[in-house]
Structures are given as structure tokens and as C-alpha cells.
Amino acid sequence: MKKVRVLVLTGYGLNCDHETANAFSLAGAEPVRVHINSLIAGEERLEDFQILAFGGGFSWGDDHGAGVIQATRMKNNLGGQLLEFVGKGGLVIAICNGFQAVVNLGLLPGFDNDYTSRSVALTYNDSGNFRDDWVYLAPNEKSPCVFTKGLESFDLPVRHGEGKLYAEDAVIKRLQENNQVALRYALADGSPANGKFPENPNGSVDDIAGICDPTGRIFGLMPHPEATVHYSNHPQWTRIKEEKKRKGEAMGDAVSPGLQIFINGVNYVRENQ
């Protein structure tokens, strides 16, 4: 089978690189953890990879706005390479702090093939605090997002203090019309959270949890799919196990929706490149 190489960024306070790499391994890809400075120094080259992962963490301590300094550093030192990578059809997944970096870089929302303009922000949660909890998510089946294809309502952990998606009304409208809103915070039954806390954990406009660019190849989201690729990551797994036991079923090794997101990305590369 065709090799799919994934570059997972590390360094400067990023901290989800190991589990993000692990998720890609389980999805059948070949992940490499690469320090931002190794990429800048040219020790690794983006063109040797098909997927670029901006992972979670606290780059530069999240000082001066989450993801802001990471975006500045990458734009100044790698801006051209990034645009080339995106232009050639590379995939980008940007999770939590990565999502924050990517909107500051302008890789999202990517209207009109413009991958440098900042028009979406991820800012302080309305609650004013960091929050670790699980949320329900409703994928938009009309979205071109390659990572969420075929997913039905599911749950993932959120762990952030600055995850409220905000943009001017016109930008939000355009995201909605283009179906670039790939994931929304939802209630347990998959219906919209309508801003209700804690189902919508941060006050995001239109319950937006994740967006993609118009091609669907660049995807940013606040929840953490890489933190739920093993059955025991789920907060209710001991309950699920007892429920199944009483029906005479075993836990099984069903693919979690979190892992499916990575598999979708890897499969897309296999099928399209």
C-alpha cells in the first residue's frame, strides 16, 4: 500500500505530538515528529510529506493570544513552503492550539484561494476559564471536509481556554453557505447546542467546533480526536462495557470516531494522490 507520510509539529510548548503521531500510526500512516526549528533549518522538508498536523499545546505559553506567535514564526520562516504545500493538495489537520495557529496564519478559512488572511478568531471562552470536558459533536454531512466524511454524531474531549470561534457576520455566513462549518457542538441527541453551556463549552458563534477550507483538505477543530483512539479514553467505557456484558457482547475493537478522522485523512491521500 502507498505510504502516507505525516509531519507532526513539535517544540515551543506544543504538547500533543506523541498522541497525534500515535493516532496517525493507528490510521496506517507514517508520522514523523518534527521540531518547528528543524523544518525552518531545512533538516526536514514539507514536500516530503502528504499531511501536516498542527497539534495541541501551549505554543509560546499562549501569551499574546493562543497560536499567535507560532503563526508569526511560521509565516516569517516557512510561509512560502506552507503555501506551496497547500497549493499542491497537501492535507492539513489543525487541532486545538494548532487550529488557533492556523486561523492566525490564515490557512483557514481560505476563502477565494487566499491562504494568508486572518478573518476568523479563536478567543477566550465566554466562561473565562480553561475547561476539560467531553462534548457532543454534529458533523455537517454537506461539508467538503475530507476528515469528517461519513461520521455521525459523536463525542470528543475539549481542553482549552480560548476556543470561542468568532468572526464578522459576513464571514460566518460565508462559512455556513460554503459548508465550511464541518463540526458543531451539539446536545446528546445530535441536535444543535444553540450556545448552551457546557454543551457549547466556549460560546462559539453558531456552535462552531471545526471548520475546513473550501477544498475540504484543511481542517481545524478545537476538540481532540487524537485523545480518543483507545476504548479506555472514553469517559463512559466502564459503563459501556457493563452494558455490553449484560447483552452478552464483548467490548470489541470498533474504530472510534476520533480515530476515524485520521483514517479519513490517510485514505483520502491514498485514493487521490
Partner: protein, 998 residues
């Protein structure tokens, strides 16, 4: 010319930070603010052109989607403005990252004189606000005068052109560094100088120090390097190393213990050796999974053939008591350096916290420096930033309120690490320094921070305690260093590694040089934050985020190349030698030259008088109390008690899932809102094995007897990891003692002998339980002097001592996380079992406390009986014939049955007559006794037979069943239903106290 850049959210956006300030002002002080808008200010003290200033404004510091900014004060409506900035020399983390970003954008390098300072401006609006209101908000909510300064502006005072003005909190010492010598003409003279310089030398040590420096051969050798009388660098080194914080003189002391009831006397020579290290060594010899204990920064246990885990616990009480946020963040970030400096270095995989503070709503006459509420807010936030920004899951935690902590709060922080079993083909847990290797300092720079922190925590807190030792941790710098050092370790570049904590370089270099038997270090090479530090200050500064590493000269190039890649500052400051001397120079001048074995020389042992009066002779007795009639209301009130009620608001602020390893979370149950017995992590993502971690603290029992306090704390911590699935054969412990002063003084500490006896008894219990449970102590620390002197109503000062406190942390191996259990009941029809005997042990219980009594019958641990039960429990769990498992802890059966029911959102039908009991013959005793060694289990009917087979012959019985209707129903001994409460009502009662906090 410095510039001030003001940045604010666009007016149409919610200012969550400002809203938080308004909320606190209202709920803490009744000050009604209509709105608070916050403005971030960057004061740029560097030569930047107008073009550069504009570029950095637009390209870095202003998000065009949500922010506005300007180099002139932003026009924001207000009635009052409060400005808050740091004092000079306080770590300004965002200021430092701003410098990094600007340097990167323009490809320039800031000089030592240039910097960026951050501060905040709050624009407050409201009717009738006074300057006094503003001062209260500034002083009690926004700033702590130890680290921050503030200004209040009325509308009239505000100049829209200059705004808050330019404040540059730059450290200017204007001081030529110098080494001074200290006269040792007499013991009195040296003592006088020690007091004058705040050296905190123990009077008993002074003759030993003097006789060393007066020895002929010493004088001779010193003459050759140009020294005669001891230098301040040398005395500081000795003082730090001999401090109780570093040297544990109390635990190494000699205790003359008398039982005043029997007249029996015993001498306990060295509690550390007899009760901690000897038992642990013997147990470790029987348990091959114990890899390395009692010498390194953390203890090491086996995870699997390819991995070891490392664990240690610390406290950071004194600094947190003065500056809660700074103390707590420095504490957690600091303890994370211990596993990093264990063996050849561990990756951090989890942390835990324990906070002991005064009652949150305390409103009495005593005036602590920070109110318990403010203290707790700050501590919570410090651990949040320290843990979350380090990318380390905060696995577990506990909060304990007691008036005894008004004098000094306790902040426990524990760190769990993981390392490969082999590094570069050799054992990872071993390390040494060798002559010729380079002494490298990695991480942050050195400033005046934390000087005399170690000696200050060895003293009782008073208004004279120097505040200079409060720091602010920098998890960002440390995370970069963590990633760098692990890569260096894996490349085989690290020969030795240890952290710079208490005592700074004097301690890390001093201790690491013992392996090679000498070192030569040039203090002039140490990178400084600012000029003007004296040599002794460089030597003992506790500036954070630093590790000391020994590398072979041939690895220097590779090591430094890697440091550059990770943007970590590293400096070679000297070499290890085998000269037998600690040789410190400043450039070419020697400023310290002492024998390496000086500190192991015959310093006098500390001695303590300990007198024990058993509780019944101290007048303690069981209260005369008739049975309560309203058990429903009693249960709801018990659930609302501060030490029982939900603290979900704290847990949710902590990232407990980063690294993708979480298998049992700190909050469990159908609605993910109930605290688990312990947490389980699966630190190797390709393995099914896990590590369980939990902890316990039960200071209330010390009011009766610290022996039983200790035994119960250890038993609870053990049960907590068993309840989630740990193998009873592979549990390790970490002891963290926090004790009030035990040195007897007729006036200052009249009950010192009692507190000393309590310490002896606690250590004996530690030894006994370790032996009974075959439980090795992987690590431990002690923090003495948990006392404070608080001003009262009339200007008098009260000494407030904490209850004798032990926090015990347990780690346990989980062979396959598939067998882990949670405490929430799972399905209607499941049978409810109680395992372990309930006795009449209400002494110092939550129930008695609720009713205003202390009592006498403190719970006692029957370790031998418990062990048989624990093994059966483990068997039942690994065979999956228990659906839920819960230990019974503070609050007793009633509270913990209620929690199991609430967590599963299902009802329970129970009969107290069926509870296995001994001597507990009343409903209230059965419901609220806190007997150790007990569990609540639920079992699917299909597993009943096998479950009962496993527990045959043990005190375990079915007491009822799980029911669909969400009602807790309990039949009393008289056969009547004494409790009938809706699950939702219990949840409401349990959550209402802190439910509004986020």
C-alpha cells in the same frame, strides 16, 4: 524611548476576563460594577523604529478580527481605571515571549538592557464607585503587593494623552559584585552574623563550622588558593545544605519519647532511618519491581520490561501562603523537574495536587495575609497554568478545609514520570559524574529570585519573613527544556542530571560533585538576568526552570547543537574533578574552597523531647448523643459539607487528558461529575498496561492520635488505587509530612513535646503499615513549621498551628486497563455488597465534626485482616465479577453509597441490618463511622455465585440492590425506612456550595 502599546478586545465582544473581575468584586466584596473592560499593555523598552513598531503591532500583537490597539491610550469609557503591573525583578512570562516574537520578526537580538514588560489596565464602570472600592479591587482581587504594583485613576486624574504613563520595572542594582569574608572569632560572633545575614544557621552547627575553618590543614590548603576566614559563598553553601528543608534534620534527629500514661521511655534515633529507609530497603529487596529508591530526586518502579516509572511529591507551602498563584505554579513546575532529574531523566506523564486551606468563607477575627478564598483561587490557578502549559495531565487532587491552615496553607504537588529501562544500552536509573566532565546549567537565567527560599520555609511565617523568595514559574521555558533533555538522554549525551530547586546551584552542583568527589565552577560563567548579583547570590539563587547536567567533553558539540534546536539556553560553568574539593571561583579568584566531605562530617544531631499523653487522658471522650430522627436532612447536610461536597469546578480547569493516556478519569459516572477513587493512565500508547495513582489526607484524626491518622491515610490511599484496579503486590507510596513546629519552647511552642510525640507516632505507623501491606516508600518529603502568627481584632497576634498532616500518594501497576473499574453503579438489579467491617469508630469523623464533637474512637486499621480482603477484591476485579467498586472514606457509608448512586443516576435499596459490623449498633454509627478497610461493590446477578466464592470467609455481605427508580432507600436496624431521598436532591445538595464557580 520606550513605547506603550495598548491592546483591547473590540467593544462588541464579551470581555470574559473583565466579567470575571466584576463577578468577584460583587460576590467577594459586594462592589457592584456595571462593566469591566481589560486592556493589555506592552511596554517596549528597546530601540525600535516607527516602522518596526507598526509592524509588530499589526503582525504580532493585534488580532484584526477581535482586537484594537494603539500606541496612544485607547479610548474606552470608564468611571475609574486600575492599572496593575509587576514589580521589578518579578518573572514576566508574556514579556519574555513578546521579546522572542519581536526578535524573530526582525531577526534582531535584544540587549540585556532592553525588554518588554506587560501590564493590565482595567476600565471600570459603575454607579457610586469610590476610590476605596477601587483600592479593594486592586489589592484584594487583581494584585498582590509582593509581586505587583498598581495605580488607581479617577476620571479627573486621567490624562487621555499619557494614560497610565510609562512604567519600566527594570532591575537596577548598581552594585559591584563582591565576596566578603566572615569573622569566626567566636561562636557568638558567627551566630550574630548568621542572624544578621539571614543565614539561619542552627546554633548547634556553629562549633562544627568554626572548628573546620580553624583546622590547621584546612587553613593551609585555603592559603594556597588565597583564602583564610570563610567567605559568604561558603557559609551560604553550608547554611543551605544544612537547612531542615534540604537536610531533613528533624527526621534525622534523636527523639526522647515518654509515654506519660505508663512512664515508658524510648529513644528513637533517626526516624528517617528506622521508619522510612530501613523498612523500604527490606521490602524493596523482596520486590524486584522496586528499581531505585531513597537516593535520587524521585523513586523508580518498574512499569514493564522496557519502561520504568518515577514518582515524587513536594510541598510549596510558605511561598503559596504569601503569593498563592506564584507559589503554586512554582510548586507544580518545580516538582516536575524532579522526575526530569531522576536517573538519566524521565518524561512527565501525570501530576496531582492537594490543597489544605482555611474555610473558604472564613470571616472570623483573625486576619491572614490572604483570605482562604483568595488563597484558594490563586493556588487553583497556579496549578492550572503550571500543569496545563506543561502538557502534563493533572490526574487527581483533593482539597481539605480546616481552620488550622489559616496560619499557613499546604500545597502538595506530585509528579509521575516515565523512562525507558535502558538508555544507550545501560540502566536508565543509574548516573554518576566523573572527573573531566562538564558542569552544564540548562534552562532559565539567574536573578535574585528565591534567595533564602529554603531557609525561609524552615521558619515560622511572620510579618518579617522576607518576601523576596516568591517567584512565578515559567512552564513554557521548562517544557522546551523537558523536550530537549529527553532527546539528549536518548542520544546518550547525559551522564548525570539533577534539578535546581532549593539551594540552587549550591545544592545541585554540591550534590552532583559528590559522585566524582570534586568540582571547579566559575560563577562568572553563569548567565544572569541582570548585572549586580553578588557571588553568593549567584550560588544560592533559586531562579526556576534550571537543571544541572554533567556531559562528557566529547558530547559538548552534539549537546549544544540540540539545545539550539530546542531554543534552550545552556552554559558550561565548570568541570567535575576528583580533587576532594568544592572549588568555586569568580573569574580567576577563588571564592569557595571546602572539602567535599564537610557536610557529611560530624554535625551534631538535632534532639527533641517528645511526650505522649493518650487521648483518653487528655480528656477526650465519646459525646453523649442520642440517635438522630431526621436521617434525610442529615444526609443532605453531610453532602453539603465543604470537605465532602462537589469540587468539580477545580477538576474541570485541569487538563487531565493530554498525552492521550487517560483510562480512568478523575471525574466518572453517567454525568461525568463524581470524583473517582483514583486515576489510571496508560502511559505507553502501544501497551494495555496502566498506572493507577491516588492520594489521601485525613488531618482531622490527628486531633485524637497521629498514629491512627497515619495508618488511616495510608490505608485509604492504598484502597483508592485498589478500587480502580491496581495489583496489590505492586503498590508504592509517597509520604509528604507537613507538621507544626515540634521544638519545645515554654513561651513560643508550649505543646512542642506533644507535637513531637505525634511525629514519632506517625512515623511508627508509617513503618507498621509499610511492613503490613508490603508497601515500599518510593519517595517522600517533609515540611515542618506549619504555623503562622495571625493578627487578631485588637492588634494581638495568635499562633495558629495546622493539624499534624500527612498526605500519602499511592501508585499501583494495572496489568490490563480492561479490568479497571469505576465507582458508579451500573445497572438496575445489580447486587450491592459491603466488604470490610464497620465498627463504632466515629471519633474525629465528619459526622461528629458536623455536630460539633470530636469524640474518642478514632478509626484503627486492622492491616492483616484488610490484606486478605484486598487480595480477594483484586481477584474479583480481574475476573470482571464486580461492576463497580468504591472505597468508603471520609463521611462513611452514607456519603459514599450516596455518591455511587448519584454517579450511576440510579437508586439503591439497602438494609443496614445486613452490613458486616462489629460494635456499631446504631443507625448513625453504621452510616457515618469511618472505619478503614471497607469497599462498596456492585455485582451483576450472573456473577453473584463466583463473587461470593471469592469472598468466602471474609467480612463481605450483600446489603441490597441497585434499582431503576432514582431514589436512595435505606432500612435502619429497626426495620423502618430511615432514608428515602431522590438522587437529584442529593446531587443538588452536594453541588450547591461550589456549583456556581467555574
Amino acid at each position: 524611548m520606550p513605547s506603550c502599546l495598548e491592546i483591547s478586545l473590540k467593544p462588541q465582544l464579551i470581555d470574559a476576563h473583565g466579567a470575571g473581575v466584576a463577578k468577584k468584586a460583587k460576590s467577594y466584596f459586594g462592589i457592584a460594577l456595571d462593566s469591566v473592560r481589560s486592556v493589555n499593555i506592552l511596554t517596549l523598552d528597546a530601540d525600535l523604529s516607527d516602522g518596526q513598531l507598526e509592524r509588530l503591532r499589526t503582525e504580532i500583537f493585534t488580532n484584526p478580527v477581535i482586537q484594537v490597539s494603539s500606541y496612544a491610550p485607547l479610548e474606552i469609557d470608564f468611571d475609574w481605571v486600575i492599572w496593575v503591573g509587576y514589580r521589578p525583578g518579578v518573572r514576566d512570562n508574556p514579556g519574555a515571549t513578546a521579546v522572542e516574537a519581536i526578535e524573530d520578526l526582525f531577526g534582531l537580538k535584544f540587549t540585556k538592557d532592553q525588554a518588554v514588560y506587560t501590564s493590565m489596565r482595567y476600565c471600570c464602570k459603575g454607579k457610586g464607585l469610590t476610590r476605596r472600592d477601587m483600592e479593594t479591587i486592586a489589592k484584594e482581587i487583581l494584585a498582590n503587593d509582593i509581586i505587583q504594583q498598581w495605580k488607581v485613576f479617577s476620571k479627573e486624574e486621567w490624562d487621555p494623552k499619557t494614560g497610565v504613563g510609562v512604567v519600566i520595572p527594570k532591575v537596577k542594582l548598581d552594585h559591584e559584585p563582591s565576596v566578603s569574608t566572615v569573622s569566626i572569632s567566636s561562636d557568638e560572633e558567627l551566630m550574630r552574623i548568621s542572624d544578621e545575614r539571614n543565614l539561619a544557621l542552627n546554633p548547634n552547627d556553629i562549633p562544627t563550622i568554626r572548628s573546620y575553618f580553624l583546622r590547621e590543614d584546612v587553613l593551609e590548603a585555603r592559603k594556597e588558593v588565597g583564602l583564610s576566614e570563610p567567605t559568604d559563598v561558603e557559609l551560604e553553601y553550608i547554611s543551605q545544605a544544612r537547612s531542615d528543608h534540604c537536610n531533613h534534620n528533624t527526621f534525622g534527629g534523636k527523639f526522647f519519647y515518654t509515654d506519660l500514661a505508663t512512664g515508658e521511655k524510648m529513644v528513637m534515633d533517626n526516624l528517617f532511618k528506622s521508619c522510612i529507609s530501613d523498612p523500604t530497603k527490606a521490602i524493596a529487596a523482596r520486590k524486584p519491581w522496586v528499581i531505585s529508591v531513597l537516593w535520587d530526586n524521585a523513586g523508580v518502579g518498574k512499569f514493564d520490561d522496557d519502561h520504568y516509572y518515577s514518582i515524587t511529591g513536594e510541598t510549596h507551602n510558605s511561598p503559596s501562603n504569601m503569593e498563592a498563584y506564584g507559589g503554586a505554579i512554582t510548586g507544580i513546575v518545580g516538582v516536575y523537574r524532579d522526575p526530569m532529574g531522576t536517573g538519566k531523566g524521565s518524561k512527565l506523564i501525570a501530576g496531582t495536587y492537594g490543597f489544605c486551606v482555611g474555610p473558604r468563607d472564613y470571616d472570623g477575627d483573625l486576619k491572614p495575609r490572604l483570605t482562604p478564598r483568595r488563597l484558594l483561587d490563586g493556588i487553583i490557578e497556579g496549578v492550572k497554568d503550571g500543569g496545563n502549559k506543561s502538557g502534563i495531565p493533572t490526574a487527581f487532587g483533593q482539597v481539605c478545609f480546616d481552620p488550622g491552615y489559616l496560619g499557613k496553607c499546604l500545597v502538595f504537588v506530585t509528579a509521575l514520570g516515565l523512562m525507558p529501562a535502558k538508555v544507550d544500552g545501560g540502566p536508565s536509573e543509574e548516573k554518576t559524574t566523573s572527573p573531566g566532565e562538564l558542569v552544564v546549567m540548562c534552562g532559565g537565567r539567574v536573578g535574585k529570585d528565591g534567595i533564602h527560599g529554603v531557609t525561609a520555609s524552615s521558619e515560622v511565617f511572620s510579618e518579617h519573613t522576607p518576601a523576596g523568595h516568591v517567584q512565578i514559574g515559567d512552564p513554557y521555558t521548562q517544557k522546551k527544556m523537558h523536550d530537549f533533555l529527553l532527546e539528549a538522554r536518548d542520544q546518550g549525551l547525559i551522564a548525570f542530571i539533577t534539578d535546581n530547586g532549593g539551594g540552587g546551584l549550591s545544592s545541585s552542583v554540591g550534590e552532583s560533585a559528590r559522585f566524582s568527589d570534586g568540582c571547579k565552577v566559575d560563577l562568572a560563567k553563569v548567565p544572569l538576568k541582570y548585572d549586580g548579583l553578588d557571588q553568593w547570590e549567584i550560588w544560592v539563587s533559586e531562579s526556576q526552570e534550571r537543571m544541572t547536567v554533567s556531559i562528557k567533553p566529547e558530547h559538548e558539540k552534539a549537546f549544544f547543537a540540540l539545545a539550539k534546536k530546542h531554543a534552550v539556553e545552556c552554559t558550561v560553568i565548570g568541570t567535575y574533578t576528583d580533587s576532594g574539593k568544592l572549588h568555586i571561583t569568580y573569574k580567576d579568584e577563588t571564592c569557595a574552597y571546602v572539602d567535599m566531605d564537610l557536610l557529611t562530617a560530624a554535625f551534631p544531631q538535632w534532639e527533641f523531647e517528645a511526650e505522649w499523653v493518650p487521648p483518653e487522658l487528655r480528656g477526650l471522650k465519646e459525646p453523649v448523643l442520642s440517635a438522630p430522627a431526621d436521617h434525610n436532612m442529615l444526609l443532605l447536610d453531610m453532602l453539603d459539607r465543604p470537605n465532602i461536597c462537589s469540587k468539580e469546578w477545580i477538576t474541570r480547569q485541569y487538563d487531565h487528558e493530554v498525552q492521550g493516556t487517560s483510562a480512568i478519569k478523575p471525574l466518572v459516572g453517567k454525568e461525568r461529575d463524581t470524583p473517582s477513587d483514583g486515576a489510571v493512565y496508560r502511559p505507553v500508547l502501544t501497551s494495555e498496561s496502566g498506572i493507577a495513582i491516588s492520594q489521601a489526607v485525613l488531618p482531622a484524626y490527628s486531633a485524637i492520635d497521629a498514629y491512627h491518622m497515619t495508618a488511616c491515610v495510608m490505608d485509604e490511599a492504598v484502597r483508592r488505587v485498589l478500587a480502580v484496579g491496581a495489583d496489590p503486590e505492586q503498590i508504592g507510596g509517597v509520604d509528604n509530612f507537613c507538621w507544626p513546629t515540634i521544638i519545645f519552647d515554654e513561651k513560643q511552642n508550649p505543646d512542642g513535646k506533644h507535637k513531637a510525640a505525634q511525629l514519632v507516632r506517625s512515623c511508627l505507623a508509617l513503618r507498621d503499615l509499610c511492613n503490613a501491606y508490603d508497601l515500599p516508600l518510593l519517595s517522600g518529603k517533609d515540611s515542618m513549621y506549619v504555623d503562622g502568627h495571625l493578627p487578631g481584632r485588637y492588634g494581638e497576634r495568635h499562633k495558629v498551628s495546622a493539624l499534624e498532616t500527612l498526605q500519602f500518594t499511592t501508585t499501583g501497576l494495572v496489568h490490563d486497563v480492561a479490568h479497571c473499574k469505576t465507582m458508579d453503579v451500573k445497572a438496575p438489579g445489580d447486587l450491592v455488597y459491603i466488604a470490610g467491617l464497620t465498627k463504632n469508630e466515629l471519633g474525629a469523623s465528619e459526622y461528629y465534626e458536623h455536630l460539633g464533637h470530636l469524640g474518642l474512637n478514632v478509626p484503627k486499621v486492622d492491616a492483616k485482616a484488610n490484606m486478605a480482603l484486598y487480595k480477594a477484591l483484586y481477584k474479583a476485579m480481574t475476573e470482571d465479577c464486580a461492576a463497580s467498586v468504591r472505597g468508603v472514606y471520609r463521611g462513611g457509608l452514607a456519603v459514599h453509597l450516596a455518591l455511587c448512586s448519584m454517579a450511576g443516576c440510579l437508586g439503591l435499596d439497602l438494609d443496614l441490618a445486613k452490613v458486616p459490623a462489629e460494635g456499631a449498633d446504631r443507625d448513625d454509627a453504621l452510616l457515618y463511622s469511618e472505619s478503614a478497610g471497607r469497599f462498596i461493590l456492585t455485582v451483576a446477578p450472573s456473577d453473584k455465585e463466583r463473587f461470593e466464592e471469592i469472598f468466602a470467609g471474609l467480612p463481605a455481605a450483600c446489603v441490597g440492590q441497585v434499582v431503576e427508580a432514582p431514589v436512595l432507600s435505606v432500612k435502619g436496624l429497626g426495620g423502618d425506612e430511615i432514608i428515602r431521598t431522590e438522587v437529584q436532591d442529593m446531587k443538588d445538595a452536594w453541588k450547591k456550595r461550589f456549583g456556581g464557580l467555574i
